[in-house]
């Protein structure tokens, strides 16, 4: 029991030992969900990594890198909305904070990029606390609208201030450099020339996403992730289980903020120019759509959603014109008929399904009675009275 003492804080009550040992779950690629998803992930990473060797044109790379940054943003929002159930409608604001902080610190103050990255992280934590601290103790809907307002505040401020370059934004943001060599210089490998710095950002984005996917997956399975999901499912019950829901929510919110800020910095250095127009509410809404369409709380779903929302207008030109209308309608339709999205977080591979069907993430029947028609404390009381007289 020494292990237990190390793992658990002082507890007055210990569980009796389990009555029987559970069999080890299978680990194979086709016999376990985890193994399969890992293999799938590895395959996807390989495919993405091979792309520049086939088509390294500036146009392709630029679109692909933007799509990856999009994926990154959606993964961050997924922590906030999907895991912790906090509706953030101004997520792009943290992206803006990251982009502007790194832009200003490197161009106006001439800091190196790594120092700007630290400044970005600090700025995003601060912004997350300023917005989150007062609103996260209120009903969840307030957060939605306050973050919406915050997004507008950031955009308008960037538009009005001199230091942010006003409506035209900031230009000439330097690339990452390591000693004398910077991303701008390029190099050749295997006879293929990589002159464009976008290629580097493509790989950087890919690496960051892989780290993010692994990290988010680990967090989601650990103590903090369970707390987030508990808060999402039922805040009162979570509080009753010893989870400080305020801290759980604010930690998810700040992690999301920092992640978006890092994505912002990546974008600022990748495009080397930023302007307030890239940070409109529209983009916050698009990120949210990607997360919802893909499946809240589901990493593969969110990645697919992000790729769809960011690449569809590029691939289907006719679609571009209509996309916002279609996204709007899709959002309503998905919430009405498939609220857990394209690839639900609770999805189980078809050949691994247990005898009982997996429930959808939430349907009318499984929903926590929260808003209207809240059962006035308990439905089964009538039953209890039957027993009373018996």
């Amino acid at each position: 029991m020494r292990d237990l003492d190390l793992a658990l804080k002082h507890v007055p009550l210990r569980a009796p030992a389990p009555l029987f040992e559970r069999p080890q779950p299978p680990k194979g690629v086709f016999t376990s969900q985890r193994g399969f998803m890992r293999a799938l992930g590895l395959l996807a990473v390989l495919l993405v990594a091979v792309l520049p060797f086939m088509d390294a044109s500036r146009y392709t790379m630029s679109i692909a890198t933007s799509a990856l940054i999009y994926v990154m943003l959606c993964m961050g929002l997924n922590v906030v909305v999907g895991y912790a159930g906090l509706l953030d409608l101004g997520y792009i604001a943290f992206f803006a904070v990251g982009a502007y902080v790194s832009g200003i610190f490197t161009t106006v103050l001439g800091w190196p990029m790594w120092a700007a990255l630290i400044a970005t992280i600090i700025a995003c934590i601060t912004a997350g606390i300023i917005i989150g601290a007062p609103t996260l103790r209120l009903r969840s809907d307030y957060l939605a609208i306050v973050t919406l307002g915050f997004g507008e505040i950031i955009r308008i401020t960037a538009n009005n201030l001199k230091i942010t370059g006003g409506p035209s934004g900031i230009h000439g943001i330097p690339s990452w450099s390591f000693g004398p060599w910077s991303f701008d210089d390029g190099f050749s490998l295997l006879g293929i020339d990589f002159p464009e710095r976008v290629v580097f950002y493509y790989f950087v984005a890919l690496v960051v996403i892989v780290v993010g996917v692994i990290g988010a997956g680990r967090l989601a399975k650990g103590r903090l992730g369970r707390a987030w999901k508990a808060v999402r499912d039922d805040e009162d019950a979570a509080e009753a289980m010893g989870i400080n829901t305020y801290i759980a929510k604010i930690s998810a919110y700040i992690i999301g903020a920092v992640w978006a800020g890092m994505a912002g910095q990546l974008m600022a250095t990748h495009l080397s120019a930023i302007s307030p127009n890239s940070f409109q509410f529209l983009y916050s809404a698009l990120i949210l759509m990607a997360v919802v369409l893909g499946g809240m709380g589901s990493t593969p779903g969110v990645i697919i959603g992000a790729l769809f929302v960011s690449l569809a207008p590029e691939l289907l030109r006719d679609f571009a014109e209509w996309r916002y209308l279609i996204f709007g309608v899709l959002l309503v339709v998905v919430m009405l008929f498939r609220p857990s999205g394209l690839w639900p977080a609770t999805a189980v591979l078809p050949w691994l399904r247990r005898s009982r069907p997996t429930p959808p993430a939430f349907t009318e029947a499984t929903a926590v009675p929260a808003s209207i028609m809240e059962s006035v404390d308990g439905t089964p009381t009538t039953d209890a009275h039957e027993g009373d007289r018996a």
Partner: protein, 296 residues
């Protein structure tokens, strides 16, 4: 000084009309109807569409404005009811997140639906109220402004009468307090909620037409900012409280008017949303809202 107050009052009456719908819907089904600002936009476009269909432009007649106003109110009211029926009612027992997201979807659908129909560029509203004004108490007042404020005041009085004095109003208040209880007492909850959506949307539609006539130009995104502002107004007054929404609207209008004068017009929205955050930090129940303990 007086001028600032007067300007604030006019903008504030628009805010108040939109905030009322926000607040009523929130009060009764605890839903933040993000699409509410877009109903305001729809109101303006319904007016625009009808007038254009009759080939009217550059009109200044007030009776015509009233006719269009009424027509828009009925149309937007029905649209509001339709939205509730299609998008919100099926989700009434779902988690809040699902409904909020649906509301955003509705908002997007309305905005970009209008964009597809009328195009992305601003349109000139066919009715322009004349801007010949006169000076009272050191402020410049135009006849059209007075008309707008009077219309807004009349609409709010009618609403107050409905909620306070009629059977339907009593049913609304009952549902807001205790939906299950109200249903048990024989209130037709669905019908009353539909009615709230009708009234709220009609008020927003009216505000849209009035804004069209006042500012002269309308576009498909005009509802976005005002939706946010109206929410701010509703929070300042105490969300769920009708008089709070009116008070909050007028107060926010004035605050903005003074804020723009002091800090410059470009900071007006920042100032307003700053107030929202401040209010939620210090007094989330608003000026007139009562503190309720949420049932567990």
């Amino acid at each position: 000084m007086m001028q600032l107050i007067w300007n604030g009052l006019i903008v504030g009456s628009f805010y108040a009309l939109v905030a009322l719908g926000y607040s009523m819907v929130y009060g009764i089904i605890k839903l933040l109807n993000f699409a509410h600002g877009d109903i305001y936009m729809l109101g303006a476009f319904v007016g625009f569409f009808t007038l254009s269909a009759f080939g009217i432009s550059n009109e200044t007649s007030i009776p015509l404005l009233l006719v269009v106003l009424l027509l828009s109110m009925v149309t937007t009211g029905l649209i509001g009811v339709g939205i509730e029926r299609i998008a919100y009612r099926p989700l009434r027992r779902s988690p809040r997140l699902a409904v909020l997201i649906t509301a955003i979807g509705v908002s997007f659908t309305l905005e970009y639906g209008v964009r597809q129909i009328f195009g992305p560029n601003p349109e000139a509203f066919p009715i322009r109220l004349e801007s010949s004004g006169f000076d009272v108490l050191g402020m410049r007042v135009t006849a059209s402004q007075i008309v707008l404020v009077v219309i807004a005041a009349v609409l709010m009085l009618v609403l107050a009468h409905i909620v306070e004095r009629t059977r339907q109003g009593r049913a609304m208040r009952a549902i807001a307090l205790d939906p299950t209880g109200a249903q048990l007492m024989g209130v037709n909850v669905d019908r009353v909620i539909a009615m709230v959506f009708f009234i709220g949307s009609a008020l927003a539609g009216a505000a849209g037409v009035m804004a069209g006539a006042y500012y002269g130009s309308i576009d498909f995104l005009m509802g976005f900012i005002i939706g946010l502002k109206a929410f701010t107004a509703a929070v300042i007054g105490g969300i769920g409280n009708l008089y709070g929404a009116m008070l909050g609207g007028v107060l926010l209008g004035m605050l903005e008017s003074f804020g723009s004068a002091w800090f410059g017009g470009e900071w007006r929205d920042v100032f307003a949303f700053g107030f929202l955050i401040l209010f939620l930090t210090l007094k989330p129940t608003g000026l007139l809202g009562a503190r309720v303990v949420e049932r567990m």
